[in-house]
Symmetry: C2
Subunit: 222 residues, 2 copies
């Protein structure tokens, strides 16, 4: 991603929708795209850096376009040229961090990558996501407003991955179950468990691990 918003300009959102695995380390220069100007590139970097700071410092929901622009030292139009709203900025930022995990799921060693049985892969995926959430919770929360996280390309990726695991395991009707299996990873929920309930990451992780095993019990399709 990180290329998708570059012409977001006006109103609509420009999230990656379909092509997943294709552009993991995708081409940077398509023959068609006119390429960004140097100052635009610089501004984009400033925006992302400033936004990451803002999301971490204050309530991620209260980060506004206005403040991102001011913090980055650019005008509002410049910011709107790249991103439609604050959550788009958070999505772009999160995406950078999620890429690594996405690569590992597809090409990495087991149990995260291919090779291990589905229940172990699911458990490993849960733990990796928990780690991601723990490290980048403000961004994950900031990315959750508006059309919600289900519309992001990243969610589509996780969906494809989990659905594959379910199919590998021989689940009867994988589609509804895919999102059910992903629902415990909601950033809002994670924040609630950590902050309000005071649960440790490890404790949540252990629960998710046995949850994964229970869900994909070997030799027992749901």
């Amino acid at each position: 991603m990180s290329d998708d918003e570059q012409r977001g300009g006006g109103a609509g959102s420009a999230h990656r929708a379909g092509g997943l695995l294709g552009d993991l380390q995708a081409a940077d220069e398509r023959p068609v795209a006119p390429r960004r100007r140097a100052d635009a590139e610089r501004n984009r970097a400033q925006i992302l850096a400033a936004a990451e700071r803002l999301f971490a410092e204050q309530d991620p929901r209260s980060v506004t376009m206005d403040r991102i622009a001011k913090a980055a030292g650019v005008g509002r139009a410049t910011l709107y040229r790249s991103f439609a709203d604050p959550s788009s900025v958070a999505v772009a930022l999160l995406d950078e961090h999620e890429r690594r995990l996405q690569g590992q799921l597809v090409h990495g060693p087991p149990p995260l990558g291919p090779g291990a049985p589905p229940d172990e892969r699911l458990a490993a995926f849960y733990l990796a996501m928990l780690d991601l959430l723990e490290r980048h919770l403000p961004l994950a929360l900031g990315a959750e407003t508006g059309p919600a996280r289900f519309r992001t390309g990243a969610y589509g990726f996780w969906r494809v991955h989990v659905r594959t695991l379910l199919v590998d395991h021989g689940v009867e009707d994988p589609d509804p179950l895919t999102d059910i299996a992903l629902s415990p990873l909601s950033p809002e929920l994670f924040q609630f468990q950590r902050r309000e309930l005071g649960l440790s990451v490890e404790r949540v992780g252990r629960s998710l691990t046995s949850f994964a095993r229970q869900l994909l019990r070997s030799g027992n399709a749901v």
Copy 2:
């Protein structure tokens, strides 16, 4: 609830926090409370009626205090006297609908009420919640902004219920698993499954049913 916000006035939120089962058909007149005036009661009813209409008509997220006030034909201060923000209004509205289910979970016949094995009760609970979501999705979505649904009294109720089922089943560490078991009921997720994926309520329901059985397999603590 429907008593909790009556003096919400200023800033904080006045959600029911702890005492669950206690006030199911609770006292309406405490000896202490000075009781509401007739015009206030009338206005409150107008507000709720207007709000229910607004939430159903437009994007639940775009319902503002200003518009609720105008639609109800009352001033802004009047509205703020009862509710802190639009999602509080949605919560109050939802609460009325949720009361019935809450009563059934505690006093009703099995499998919803006591008497059936935990996995059947969980499955029945899922189906009942799905029905609730299907019928009042706009309200559920409208109630989800801000401090999110985890803070509402209703969520606390579902938590207690599900946790009890998990404990009855002999689950090892019920606390983290409670919220995990509740996470598939997120209104946002439900909307995504219905509208974007085009899944029928029945299909989601079947998945949740087998999910419940898988989670609470008889004779097999997680």
